[in-house]
Symmetry: C2
Subunit: 202 residues, 2 copies
């Protein structure tokens, strides 16, 4: 069976020189894709069951050149990745605005702050000031452990990063955050822990 | 003065054959850009003054092929536009989740429902069910008139579109929505009308 791109080009797995590598294998690590996929799947479950509406934002891209073939879809022929000005996920849950990032680390005992950009932290601060619920879902991939970390812990470590620690100890994440137990439907039932977050800080 | 792309290519205005037209001039009409620009500028004002955090979502793109030149930024060499599964704008304002579309029409007396896709209306319905505040900012470009239309009016017309009207009369938009008066800072002070919306339907 031959697959085709929307513009009619046949799809073959090895039709690019080695330096022109397919996007999926490069931009995100396989592990990164998997946490993202798990969260997307969980959001789909929450959407379909009417529990919450949360979406991942598209990757921001600066489009430079577009080609319009006759009788086919427009093809972007030149574009660059732009740095995101916000976090990856936001949405609404029972009247509450949710805003979060999902991050993985191979570290075993701490989460490096270098996983964040200044503007992401600033964005979460601005959302929290509007009474949004902000947090990070952190996966320690070596032990397959997941945590929901409230933004206020991140802010505290972020503000002290120049003179203090460059990472948040896992023990702090475990005590100030919530360990997420994997489920079936959804795989990552993070809203259960958002409920705790709302209860603890009304 | 010569400008360069991030990968070092020089920028010249006419270095593409006529069929490879620059993105900006084609995908959006000039008028479309201008409402979008005005709203983006207003959102920037709201963000900087700590009033609200609202962002336009990036255009969703399906990336097919990426080239990684040595010592330069990655270049997307093949990608397609995807249909958005949500509305263009969302954010948080004083504890409330906001979700909206911005649309222009050249019509003088009504707003055609063909400006919406099914999934956008469904998305707004799902957000409203979570107590989000959903609306459309509609611009009648011929008379330079702006309205904020609550989602419930859109839903009513949308549900009757197969047997009833294919468009929402401007008179209905004016009576069930709010006419937005242009301002200076911000240009489109739409949150003032969101306040009315919240007051009227608590």
């Amino acid at each position: 069976m031959v697959f085709h791109y929307p513009n009619g080009d046949p799809y073959t797995q090895n039709d690019y020189p080695t330096k022109r590598i397919r996007h999926k294998n490069i931009i995100y690590s396989k592990r990164g894709m998997s946490l993202e996929d798990e969260i997307n799947e969980s959001n789909k479950f929450y959407l379909q069951t009417g529990i919450a509406v949360v979406h991942k934002k598209p990757t921001p891209v600066q489009i430079v050149d577009v080609y319009y073939p006759k009788r086919s879809a427009a093809v972007i022929q030149k574009a660059y990745f732009k740095q995101a000005s916000t976090t990856d996920y936001n949405g609404v849950y029972n009247g509450k605005y949710l805003d979060f990032e999902a991050k993985e680390t191979k570290n075993k005992t701490s989460f490096p702050l270098s996983n964040f950009h200044e503007h992401q932290v600033e964005h979460m601060r601005a959302c929290q000031a509007q009474d949004g619920i902000c947090f990070t879902i952190i996966k320690f991939v070596k032990h397959d452990q997941l945590f929901l970390l409230p933004a206020k812990t991140l802010f505290r470590y972020w503000d002290e990063r120049l003179t203090g620690s460059k990472s948040i100890p896992k023990s702090v994440i475990a005590s100030e955050g919530f360990e997420i137990q994997y489920g079936l439907h959804p795989r990552i039932p993070y809203l259960k822990y958002v409920d705790h977050l709302i209860e603890h800080e009304p």
